[in-house]
Amino acid sequence: MAVIRDLNKDKMDVVEGSYAVAHSVKVCKPNVISAYPITPQTHIVEDLSQFIADGEIPNCEYINVESEFSALSALVGSSAVGARCYSATTSQGLELMHEVLFNVSGMRLPIVMTIANRAVSAPINIWNDQQDSISQRDTGWIQLYAEDLQEASDMHAQAYKIAEDKDVMLPVMACMDGFILSHVYEPLVLLEQDLVDEYLPPYEPEYKLDPKNPMTFGSFADPECYTEFRYLQQKAMDNALGKVEEAANDFYKTFGRYYGGLIDEYETEDAEIILMAMGSVIGTIKETIDKLRAKGVKVGLLKVRAFRPFPVEAIRNAIKNAKVVVAIDKNISLGLNEGALFTETKASLYNTSIDVPVIGRMIGHGGRDIPLSTIEKIIDDAVNVMKSGISVESQYADLKEELL
């Protein structure tokens, strides 16, 4: 159960989500920041640029690259030299990075990158969904999804802690819903420098490019050895399962704030219906649950914080006693008509003794608003599954038939 803040202890500021993230990055003391502007990520990199201009981030270079492709490519070099590195992007920018994403994870470079989640073109659309990062799920990056500004902000310290762990050494995408989290002002606790210094040790890579001890990075691997590189990346992802939990627990100990580890649960104990989701929609779902609980509907929420590594065991445990599960997705796999959380949750239950019906509902694509009524409609669907079984396994829950 999330512990957001200790009101008696914490000093709160009212800031924009992007500013909070930029501040978090600053206190994590990066050596190189390299990014290219794209809505709705821009405020983060503008704020960081201002910090640099004001001399507030010592021993740090900001590279004003000519593209996202170069933003991440530059960090390949920086990280290989042993620098702590940061970037931020979204949507088209993230898609442009695709080739570099594999390269970063394959070279085991623990870069942290904020994704201000946004829909992808065409049609061009600058508003929020999660198609951009979900489409990069197989690139070997850890993916964490934040529920609100405080979590998005705090997640960056956790991200570095996980990424740079010697048993992990994988890059992390800290995903926050574009506009909904990036552009909203909320009272929050800005990540505390003194506590971060306690929580996050300086980055000391085991291997780096150093003339005193020359090493070769990014070599050519033939069929004799390629598989083993991939296997070791998967091993690191397995290790990350524990490290995501550990980073959240340690964070709680140091800062007194907690948002769940791989997952978090809300009202699931006796829940017949469990909704699963990632990102800012969690808030809307919690509110809907409160409303329906008052009417006696036994509904709960499974918040998925880590989409990669996918928390198979944690999900199984959380939903095994439910009567129906609904996975909510702000993405679609075209040609399958399913969102990724739905597909992967179903796959996680197959070959087990857990026999819970799972349905998928896609909502909020291209920034479509998600009112409580959309969530209520989804819960109605779930009630119907309990009564009479699954009629429609996966579909949009907020489609405007009149536009078709």
Binding site: N31, G218, F220, C225
Partner: protein, 291 residues
């Protein structure tokens, strides 16, 4: 002599990439970090778990070597280790075609890096396909000579001029025919602060089709015919030129040694084409004052 670029790599006998790499490290010395894009050099020097690189070396992708070099330079600066030199070395394709965005960005930003382009005039690693550096009428696997074609239809992209337009403080063309000149220029490029560019003409025995003992000879002929002028540019001005004077040779001497131009000597109309290539050399001779 103990070279920083080690023998035992998988390059062809007479490989031009290996020679340029070796000379580059002779010029750079131990305190450097090298970046290479995907290409022959990368593939032949780093079959895991072996490496021919006696200095720290990194390969990321085909089109981003200049960006990776920028990141290394920035990181070294941030961490107070900026006495280490950063050198990118890669093929013509990775540099002037697919790597154009990256190198343009890196030079515009003014990073203190040296970029060495090994111009073997095609995509050799993937089987001799045409690049923007392939010369007029060269037959490659994607610009083959045929019944109605004399091969590549376009002249070489003038990359040094493009880099000069970026305001690079030092640019030089070099050739494997003149190794001492090459090493001297690379050394100078590394010593000059800011982004510097070396364009190294590098005949490829396999792709161009000549005997593997003739790499240097072919390279010399490109210079002596005027087809590959050697010059230095400092802050946009040409400051030195290698005169060819009495040595000037007809382009046929250079072209006839190479399989990729064979059709010019066997196909009807070849004479006319040879005249056009001679005109390219003559223009260079006037433009750069090579005589």
């Amino acid at each position: 002599m103990n070279f920083l670029f080690k023998s035992g790599h998988r390059g062809c006998a007479g490989c031009c990439d290996a020679m340029v790499a070796k000379f580059t490290l002779m010029a750079a010395g131990e305190n450097c970090i090298v970046v290479s894009p995907t290409g022959c050099l990368e593939v032949m020097t780093t079959p895991y778990p072996e490496s021919a690189w006696g200095v720290p070396w990194i390969h990321s992708l085909f089109e981003n070597a200049a960006s990776v070099a920028s990141g290394i330079e920035a990181a070294l600066k941030a961490m107070g280790k900026d006495d280490t030199k950063v050198v990118a070395i890669g093929g013509d394709g990775g540099t002037i075609d697919i790597g154009m965005r990256a190198i343009s960005g890196a030079f515009e930003r003014g990073h203190d890096i040296t970029y060495v382009c090994i111009d073997n005039e095609a995509y050799m690693n993937t089987g001799v396909q045409r690049s923007g550096a392939t010369p007029y009428d060269a037959s490659t696997t994607t610009s083959p000579a045929g019944a109605i074609s004399f091969g590549n239809k376009r002249p070489k992209k003038d990359m040094p001029a493009i880099m000069a337009a970026h305001g690079a403080p030092y640019i030089a063309t070099t050739s494997l025919g003149y190794p001492k000149d090459m090493i001297k220029k690379i050394k100078k490029a590394i010593d000059v602060e800011g982004p510097t560019y070396i364009h190294a003409h590098a005949p490829c025995t396999t792709g161009w089709g000549f005997d593997s003992s003739k790499t240097v000879e072919v390279a010399k002929l490109a210079v002596q015919t005027g087809l590959w002028p050697l010059y230095e540019m400092e802050n946009g001005e040409i400051t030195s030129v290698k005169k060819i004077g009495k040595q000037k040779k007809p382009v046929e001497d250079y072209l006839k040694m190479q399989r990729r131009f064979k059709h010019l000597f066997t196909k009807e109309g070849g004479d006319e084409e040879l005249k056009k290539i001679q005109a390219i050399a003559d223009e260079n001779i006037v433009k750069f004052g090579l005589e």
